[in-house]
């Protein structure tokens, strides 16, 4: 095995070492002090929270009345509503403070799916599952926000 090893020049090695050290430092600093805003080096916060055995599990999604009179649950992927479920939840506080933001979802749906019935009313629904000794012990479902589409 007489494979030739191509070496790096001193500058080539220098900037490689520097950028590697820099990225590792950013990753560590972001994990210690940062949050999701620091993407792509931000902390890996997926499932990084503790749910107590007597806690509750919340999930949110969007529902809509359509112009044909149907009531539908919107897809959890971005293609249905323009926002994924996790994104709806990420902006929940804003929807509660300013329901008119939901108008944008209705507008996007019209542009994305011109062939489908348009939305006449949008609902943000929240389901709360109560836990008892770590096991689900009953759900409540409520409407958090409604918006009459213009």
């Amino acid at each position: 095995m007489s494979a030739q090893a191509t070496r790096l020049s001193r500058p080539g090695r220098f900037w490689r070492s520097l950028s590697a050290a820099g990225v590792i430092a950013l990753l560590l600093i972001a994990s210690a002090y940062g949050d999701d805003d620091d993407f792509p080096v931000g902390p890996m916060v997926q499932f990084a929270f503790s749910v107590p055995p007597a806690g509750e599990i919340r999930s949110h999604w969007l529902e809509a009345d359509t112009t044909t009179g149907a009531h539908i649950k919107l897809s959890m992927s971005a293609l249905g509503a323009g926002l994924k479920r996790a994104e709806v939840e990420g902006q929940m506080g804003r929807f509660v403070r300013d329901p008119s933001l939901l108008q944008g979802i209705a507008d996007a749906q019209r542009r994305l799916h011109p062939g489908q019935p348009a939305f006449s009313r949008l609902y943000v629904i929240m389901k709360v599952t109560k836990l008892d000794h770590g096991r689900p012990a009953g759900d409540t479902v409520q409407t958090v926000v409604t918006w009459d589409v213009r």
Partner: protein, 298 residues
């Protein structure tokens, strides 16, 4: 120049710059760059869908604000997607590694930043972002190369660090926000109630199993840096564990972590040996001619 002359005197230098066969870079490029079209068409396609939303739903992350990336518009995102697909298909062949690879790296950054700027950041893209940035620096690489290079070594170690960071830092985050009680909490129950598959919901009642899984996850994530310092069967066992982990989370709650899985497989597989094995099988068909036995002749 002898091969030992290529290794630096310090442990840092030896670890980062040990020469690696450039054929491995060719294989990693093929895998990672062929994955990019899949990613922009099916996984981060929300970047295009988002462009149809009004700008007030755009909540740019820090880097997007620093780069002054505006709220996306459909034609721009569709164009960027075409550029990314064409660029990555060229880069996957090993042609124009710096130009095509550079275009993909520069184009993918705003793409993925926009995809993550609508209220949710996904944590499976760190290694892919790092891979796209560093792969062009390894220069030319072909499947038939017999050469080794320090640049290839550095490139692969950097992506390996990103892959391992995604595991290790998620254990760190669990301690930072969940505390030591995380493993005995109901986080997995939370995930199964919210997005469990039928199989996932079927085991949601087995509280001891969920707690045990949380302990295994936490220990494995904290131990993940061992992947960087082990080799052979031990390392293989580690890789197999994490692949199994991803299969399990997919089966139980359809969380796939594909970009992370692709990078994991790409940088921990000794591709040059597989290429060598495949070639010796196809190149030398002659030794398989059967020898006629003497007693059955005539």
């Amino acid at each position: 120049m002898s091969e030992t002359a290529g290794t630096a005197a310090t442990p840092w230098g030896r670890w980062w710059y040990a020469p690696v066969p450039t054929a491995r870079i060719a294989a990693i490029r093929a895998l990672v760059y062929l994955f990019v079209p899949i990613d922009v068409l099916f996984l981060t396609d929300s970047a295009v869908v988002h462009a149809y939303l009004p700008a007030d739903l755009y909540q740019p992350v820090l880097l997007a604000r620093l780069l002054h990336i505006p709220a996306p518009v459909p034609w721009a995102m569709e164009t960027l997607r075409v550029v990314l697909i064409v660029g990555s298909l060229i880069a996957a062949t090993g042609r124009l590694p710096r130009l095509a690879g550079g275009v993909v790296a520069v184009g993918y950054l705003p793409w993925v930043l926009i995809s993550m700027s609508y209220g949710k950041v996904d944590h499976d893209h760190l290694a892919l972002v790092v891979a796209l940035v560093v792969l062009p620096t390894a220069g030319r690489a072909r499947f038939r190369d017999a050469d080794r290079s320090e640049a290839a070594g550095w490139t692969i170690q950097f992506i390996r660090i990103a892959v391992v960071s995604a595991y290790f830092l998620s254990a760190w985050a669990k301690m930072r926000w969940g505390g030591w009680g995380w493993a005995n909490g109901e986080t997995l129950e939370w995930a199964l109630v919210r997005r469990g598959t039928p199989i996932g919901r079927a085991i949601a009642d087995q509280r001891w199993l969920l707690h045990a899984s949380q302990w295994v996850t936490l220990v494995a994530e904290f131990a993940s840096p061992l992947l960087l310092f082990t080799r052979g069967r031990l390392q293989l066992a580690g890789i197999a564990f994490f692949l199994g982990f991803h299969v399990t989370t997919y089966v139980l709650m359809s969380i796939h972590f594909m970009p992370q899985v692709i990078c994991l497989v790409a940088v921990f597989t000794p591709w040059e040996r597989l290429i060598e094995a495949a070639r010796s099988r196809t190149v030398s068909p002659e030794p398989v001619t059967p020898v006629p036995s003497s007693d059955s002749a005539t």
